[in-house]
Amino acid sequence: MITVKNLKKQFGNHLVLDDIDETIEQGEKVVIIGPSGSGKSTFLRCLNLLEIPTAGEIWFEGNNITAPKTDINQLRQKMGMVFQQFNLFPHLTVRQNITLAPVKLGLMNKEAANRKAAELLERIGLREKADAYPRQLSGGQKQRIAIVRALAMNPDVMLFDEPTSALDPEMVGEVLELMKELAESGMTMVVVTHEMGFAREVATRVLFIEEGKIKEQNEPKAFFDTPKHPRLKEFLSKVL
C-alpha cells in the first residue's frame, strides 16, 4: 500500500532520514519507536508530504506521490493524520471540525456530512459535544475528535504522530482504546508512539528508528523479548 524507496530527508546539513526502504501492506499496524530526534516523526510526515523528502520515492496505492505532477491533495484525502497537539480548529464547533473537509472538498453534502459526524461522535460517546468548541473539551476528548475528524474522510490509512504524548496520563487510555478499536476494524495504521504496551498489544510489526535509519524491525513479541541490535536493547532497557 505504501512503499518507500531510498527516502532521504535533510534539514540544512543535518541528515534526519538516511536512505530508508520500507513497505507497508494493507491492514498492517506498524508502530514506530525510537529515541527523540531519531527521525521517526519526520518519517511519518514524509508519508503524506507534510515534509518534502530531499531524495527518494514514496508510492501510495500505485501512485508515486513524490512525482512533481501528482495531486497530493487528492492523495491526502485517503491518508488520515492525527497530531500530537490535536490541531483541532478552535474557531469551529466539533461538528464543523469534522464536516469542514468533506463538505468543502465536495465529497458529501452538508446533511450527509452532519449525519456522518453524528454517527462518528456516537461511536466515541461524544455525541452531545457536537456543538461544543474545542476549548471546552478535555485533551482526551480533543484527540478522539481529531481521530474522528480524520476518519470522516474515509481514509485508507491512518498516520498517528505521537497521539498520546501531549495528554495527561489519565486520558491516555481512552485514546489508545479508540485506536485499538480502529485497529480491530481492519484499518491500516502507522503509529509513532512511546506507548510500548500499545505496540506490544496492537502492532503487527514494530520498527526501531535511530539516527535516521531503521535499525531493527520485527513482530512485537520477538521485537520486545529478543531484541538483537545493541542500541535497541539499550533503548528498551530504559523505557520498559
Binding site: 503524506n48 507534510l50 491533495n73 491526502r76 497537539q85 478552535p90
Partner: protein, 237 residues
C-alpha cells in the same frame, strides 16, 4: 471678578463667531462629511490591498517561480512605510492626476487607501503568522489545498487576533486624512483653516474641529470594543 467675567464673555464670543455666526457650523459639517467619506473609502481600499498583499507575501515564499511577486509586495510596503504621507499625497496628486477636473476627494481617498494598505498588510501578515503552523498542517492533511486552508482555517483565526491592531490602524487613518487639506480638499481641517481666515482668530475653529475628530475616534473605539466582545462571545457559546 469683572475681569474674569469679561474674559469668559469674550471667549464665548470668539467661539460663537467661529461656530454660529454666518451659519459657519455648516462648513464643519460639510468638512466632517468629506473627512468621513475619504476615511471610509480609504479603509475599504486599505483593507482589500492589505489582506491581498499579506496573503501573497506569506504564500509565495515557498513557490520558486513566484518569488518576484513577493519582492514587489515587499517593495510596496517598504516604500509606503518609509516615506511621509504628505509627500505621497503631493506626488500622487501632481504626478498622476494632473488634469484640471480631477476630483480631489477621490485622489485623497485612493492615496490614503494605498498608504493604509501597506500598514494593514503588515498587521495581517503578523496575524497569519501568529496562527499555529499545526492548523495549516491539519487542514492540508485532510486534503484541503493551500487556498482552502488559508480561507477556511487560517484567516478566520488571524482576523480575530489582529482586530485590535486593525482598529488602531483605522483610527490613525481617520486622523491622517487631515493632511488632505494640502491638495485643496475641504475636509474638516481645511474648514477650520477657512473659518480662521474669515474671523482672523484661528484658535477656536482648530479646537472645534479637533473636538470633532475626538468624537469620531472615541465613537469608533467604542464600536470596535463592542465588535471584539461579540467575536469573543462566539468562542464561549
Amino acid at each position: 471678578m469683572d475681569t474674569i467675567r469679561d474674559w469668559f464673555i469674550s471667549l464665548a464670543g470668539r467661539y460663537y463667531d467661529a461656530f454660529i455666526t454666518e451659519q459657519r457650523y455648516q462648513y464643519y459639517l460639510e468638512g466632517l462629511l468629506i473627512t468621513l467619506e475619504i476615511s471610509l473609502i480609504a479603509i475599504i481600499i486599505g483593507a482589500l490591498i492589505g489582506i491581498l498583499v499579506a496573503i501573497i507575501r506569506v504564500s509565495v515564499v515557498n513557490i520558486k517561480g513566484l518569488r518576484w511577486i513577493g519582492i514587489i509586495c515587499g517593495c510596496y510596503v517598504n516604500v509606503i512605510r518609509g516615506t511621509p504621507i504628505m509627500l505621497q499625497l503631493l506626488i500622487i496628486y501632481n504626478l498622476i492626476f494632473t488634469s484640471r477636473n480631477t476630483n480631489e476627494i477621490v485622489v485623497a481617498a485612493v492615496c490614503f487607501g494605498i498608504n493604509s494598505g501597506a500598514y494593514v498588510a503588515e498587521i495581517v501578515r503578523a496575524g497569519i503568522e501568529s496562527v499555529d503552523k499545526g492548523q495549516a498542517e491539519a487542514g492540508r492533511s485532510l486534503g484541503l489545498n493551500a487556498n482552502q486552508a488559508m480561507f477556511y482555517i487560517i484567516m478566520p483565526q488571524a482576523i480575530k487576533n489582529i482586530l485590535p491592531a486593525l482598529g488602531n490602524e483605522f483610527i490613525v487613518l481617520i486622523k491622517e486624512t487631515s493632511v488632505a487639506s494640502i491638495i485643496a480638499v475641504t475636509d474638516l481641517t481645511k474648514a477650520a483653516q477657512y473659518i480662521g481666515s474669515r474671523t482672523w482668530d484661528v484658535l477656536p475653529p482648530f479646537i472645534i474641529s479637533a473636538l470633532f475628530y475626538l468624537v469620531i475616534v472615541l465613537g469608533l473605539t467604542k464600536l470596535l470594543g463592542i465588535f471584539e466582545r461579540r467575536m469573543r462571545q462566539g468562542d464561549n457559546s
